[in-house]
């Protein structure tokens, strides 16, 4: 069975390394990068079930990265995990399409559960798009 895949994006290397190790121990396929530009490139190279994104990062911040990731992959399940989010950040991220905004430190079991839910949501969106495409083809053929 395919395991849930997740991309962690956080500029605090020690934090993201440790979180990745703990998530792998729980059976997830985890990769991490430390900036927004690398996150965009990784998401173009591989399909992830979820992306867990920090907000305050050097260069491109989490909100800017979120916008580009969702432009590239509208169905991508992105959650913000931040120690510094304001209510304004949370509202903006949700309006832009983030599925969740979590505060650091978060309970690892909760985070893993949210990633598993994200995978289900992504798969149902894929299924919906496939059915819509079948409907579209059938209607163009007059069936």
């Amino acid at each position: 069975m395919r395991v849930d895949s997740v991309l962690l994006v956080d500029d605090e290397v020690e934090f993201v390394q440790t979180l990745a190790e703990r998530m792998r121990a729980r059976g997830l396929d985890v990769e991490y990068v430390t900036n927004g530009q690398d996150a965009i490139e990784s998401a173009r190279a591989k399909t992830y079930d979820a992306v867990v994104l920090d907000v305050a990062m050097p260069g491109m911040n989490g909100i800017e990265t979120l916008k580009i990731l969702l432009q590239d992959h509208p169905d991508l399940q992105i959650m913000l995990l931040t120690g510094q989010a304001t209510i304004g950040d949370a509202v903006e991220a949700t309006k832009l399409g983030a599925v969740d905004v979590l505060a650091k430190p978060t309970d690892i079991e909760t985070l893993v559960e949210k990633i598993r839910e994200a995978r289900k949501a992504r798969l149902s969106l894929e299924e919906k798009h496939a059915l819509d495409e079948i409907d579209r083809i059938m209607s163009t053929k007059g069936w």
Binding site: D11, E12, E14, F15, T18, L19, E21, R22, A25, A56, M57, P58, G59, G83, Q84, K104, P105, I108
Partner: protein, 235 residues
Amino acid sequence: MSGSQSRRKRNESLAFFGTMIAGQSHELTNVLNIISELAGLQHDLLKAGDDDRPVDLSRLQEVASRIKNQVDRGETIIRNTNQFAHSVDLPVAVFDLKEAIDRVLFLAERSARLAQVELISRVPEESMALENNPFSLQQAVFICIDLALRSATDERRVTVGYSLGEDGAEIRIVSADTVSHDDPVTDKLGFLGLLLADLGGVLVKGPGEEPHNAFVLHLPLHPGGSSASDEPVRG
């Protein structure tokens, strides 16, 4: 200083104080988040024992040492923040210029990291006693660093150092890139001039002059100025 200048100084000082404290609270939050994950990892490693698997003692030791490193990092943040907060205690005090500049560099490191600029210290090893307003001095140096960070383009390096001149200290903030002109709305350079006048100092060279990449601040050893016979206190 006129009433509007005094109001501006008060507002700018409060904003500077808030920016520094908020930045360090974010840094401390990062430290605590790392410690939280490392403690979680220790817990995960110990749980192996519950499942009759051998507990990896060397890994536990490694994680404990990483926690200690983060505690040290946190202590440094708290020490610098505390010293910075106390720099408002007295309007004029005898303080070590080296410590004050080192502290500004430490506090500005977060801004530099987020701006992807390397902040380089060329601060001499020896101490230099100065009698002045330590908070305003830190604010003046930070304004220069901040303008240099905001203007960084290609090289993305800013160097900060000082030397002892005949009648005071000369602080230099030099960017490897051209420092673009100040935003006329915020007019930080205008405010820098005001701060320096209050400190009895002067902006010897600003980014408006060739090669448009450096600030040179001159400060007397004492608030009322000093003569060449004044001997700096060296540590």
